[in-house]
């Protein structure tokens, strides 16, 4: 049963994909999955490749619909929201980090973050101030006017973290955020991510196959055989 303090609530969620582009017998990825993310809590989802970790994160963020079940964000049912409302929700209440930094190539580090702030409703001046502040928090105050192609992989991911957090979202969805980084950069990004999430009291839904990374979360869930089980 959904509680009023739950931030994200998934109830009996099932998802399948067609076997081929022409249809055929669908492949069941998730079956009757329940998941609750409470405010300021960090939840890790682990599992083998292809087990449906990313699919679950995308359904929880409203980026993908489910076949059956309900997905709630705060007091709203995502399945009943139109695209406009979902966009507004993503811009103000959610942050995203993926394995690739997904920065806008034509924009500087500062502009990438400013863009997210402006989409979240800030004026141009406010967006610039917020962007500079959070980029200095992630240690990139000297890289404000650098374009993505002038940044290292670790720096790009730090810009992505800054962009995800600039609107002070309620939750950060992170899908293998260190997957493309070397060990040193991965550790630095992990530290930064957790330090900011704790500092800003943001909930975290982290998808990773890296157990040591997952262990830094408050809860660890594992997807196995289309179901979710708590393992720590």
């Amino acid at each position: 049963m959904k509680r009023s303090t739950d931030l994200v609530y998934l109830h009996q969620v099932s998802k399948s994909f067609p076997a081929t582009l022409r249809g055929g017998e669908p492949i069941q990825i998730l079956e009757s999955v329940d998941l609750t993310v409470q405010r300021s809590r960090a939840i890790a989802i682990t599992g083998n490749s292809g087990s449906g970790k990313s699919t679950l994160l995308q359904i929880a963020a409203g980026l993908m619909g489910c076949d059956h079940g309900e997905v709630w964000f705060e007091h709203e049912k995502l399945g009943e929201m139109d695209n406009r409302a979902l966009s507004a929700l993503r811009s103000r209440r959610m942050g995203f980090i993926f394995q690739a930094s997904l920065l806008l190539e034509d924009f500087t580090a500062s502009e990438n973050v400013e863009m997210a702030a402006m989409i979240g409703g800030s004026s141009k001046g406010e967006a610039r101030d917020k962007a500079h502040e959070i980029l200095s928090l992630v240690g990139l105050s000297a890289r404000l006017s650098h374009r993505p192609d002038q940044l290292s992989g670790g720096e790009k991911q730090r810009v992505a973290i800054a962009r995800a957090l600039v609107n002070e979202p309620a939750i950060l969805f992170a899908d293998e955020p260190t997957g493309s980084l070397d060990e040193g950069n991965a550790a630095m990004v992990e530290d930064l991510l957790f330090s900011l999430v704790r500092q800003k009291e943001v909930a975290l839904l982290l998808v990773t196959h890296n157990l040591s990374f997952a262990r830094r979360c408050d809860e660890i869930h594992r997807i196995s055989e289309r179901n979710l089980e708590v393992i720590g």
Partner: protein
């Protein structure tokens, strides 16, 4: 404008973007500018040529208005009347030693060739004319070539009427060239007194009024109210004036059709932009940008490119057109037979209304087709940015 749209628009226009992005924008501007400049040049060329033909016909062949009256000078006051000249006209056969040609002989007074008319033709006078009692006529260089004669040569002018055949020997006192062979090959000028003396009853005498084309109907109305019988050059030459107007409208219709195609091409440009930027647009959707904000940015960027290109293309087309007269003069000097029925000597006139129509159609078609093509922005799934990477 929304700050997100503004920033996206500026970047799509290459402002603050990398060199490759700027090159793409410049390439698109150059491409559209070239198409527009060709449309503008073609329209200016056709309109200028049509008006050039109309001017030559009105000024040299018939006058803007013809008044059929007795010998009294028609007198009305109108600020747009430039001159009123008494002329006589007769159809005759012109004989050279080897050939002959049916011509329209026009008897005029000394004052006939005023500045407006002189601007329509070049006259070559005899340099060492020997004194002669023969009447002097002025034929065109086209006619001289056809009759195989030159200046100072003699010709026989023969009037064939119902009751008599009268011939008169005359001398070529000057050659003229209007550049329009259809007019040149049939028009011969001579002194009005000579024509009246020689052909008496066969000569049609009337008054030619020169005025401004735009005031033609007003002036005609004024003459008619004063009791004169007036005919405009258009009424006198309905086929010619109708053909000129139809040609202008037909060419304008073709230009408008090309502008519509060009508008469609511009929408392809926006479609290509969106196709190239799919991953970027998906990322914007992922971080919460509303599709209409993204659409507006792309629409504005494409329309700025279009507007700048239209302005540059129009300016360039006018500039090219201004360079045409020397080029046409060179072509005319080479006397290509294929071009003999075209007027190659005319002043360049910028048809502001026609160009405005072409530019407006291009802008409106682009605006609508780009708007429609950008609907695909909404269909780009936020998640697709993850798939692209």
């Amino acid at each position: 404008m929304n700050p997100v749209s503004r920033l996206l628009t500026l970047r799509k226009l290459g402002i603050g973007a990398n060199r490759a992005a700027r090159r793409r924008v410049i390439f698109n501007i150059v491409l559209i500018t070239l198409v527009v400049s060709i449309l503008v040049l073609a329209q200016i060329f056709v309109v200028s040529m049509s008006r050039g033909i109309a001017d030559k016909w009105a000024l040299l062949a018939d006058g803007h208005l013809q008044l059929y009256v007795d010998k009294r000078q028609p007198m009305i006051e109108h600020p747009s009347i430039e001159t009123i000249d008494r002329v006589g006209e007769v159809n005759a056969l012109l004989y050279s030693p080897d050939k002959n040609q049916m011509v329209r002989v026009k008897g005029v007074e000394q004052s006939y060739f005023n500045d407006s008319r002189l601007a329509q033709l070049t006259i070559t006078q005899s340099e060492n004319a020997s004194p002669s009692t023969l009447a002097k006529i002025m034929i065109s260089t086209t006619l001289a070539e056809r009759l195989a004669v030159k200046i100072d040569d003699r010709l026989a002018l023969m009037l064939v009427s119902n009751d008599a055949i009268r011939a008169q020997l005359c001398i070529i006192g000057a050659l003229y060239d209007t550049g329009y062979h259809e007019l040149d090959e049939q028009l011969v000028f001579c002194d009005l007194d000579f024509l009246e003396h020689l052909f008496t009853s066969g000569v049609t005498v009337y008054y030619e009024v020169l005025t401004q084309e735009r005031n033609l109907e007003t002036v005609k109305g004024d003459f008619e109210r004063a009791g004169y019988m007036a005919t405009t050059w258009k009424e006198q030459n309905p086929a010619l004036s109708g053909n000129l107007e139809t040609s202008r409208q037909a060419v304008l219709a073709v230009m408008v059709a090309v502008a519509i195609l060009c508008g469609y091409f511009i929408s392809e440009l926006s479609s290509q932009m969106v196709e190239d930027d799919k991953a970027r647009i998906a990322t914007l959707h992922l971080i919460g940008a509303q599709p209409q904000v993204v659409r507006r940015a792309y629409w504005t960027a494409v329309m700025v490119i279009t507007t700048v290109s239209i302005a540059l293309g129009t300016a360039l087309g006018i500039l090219f057109a201004r360079q045409l007269p020397p080029l046409l003069a060179t072509i005319a000097a080479r006397s290509y037979s294929a071009l003999s029925f075209y007027l190659l000597d005319f002043p360049i006139r910028v048809p502001v209304l026609d160009l405005s129509i072409i530019a407006s159609v291009l802008f409106c078609v682009s605006a609508v087709s780009v708007h429609l093509s950008l609907r695909r922005v909404s269909a780009i799934d936020a998640l697709s940015c993850v798939r692209f990477d």
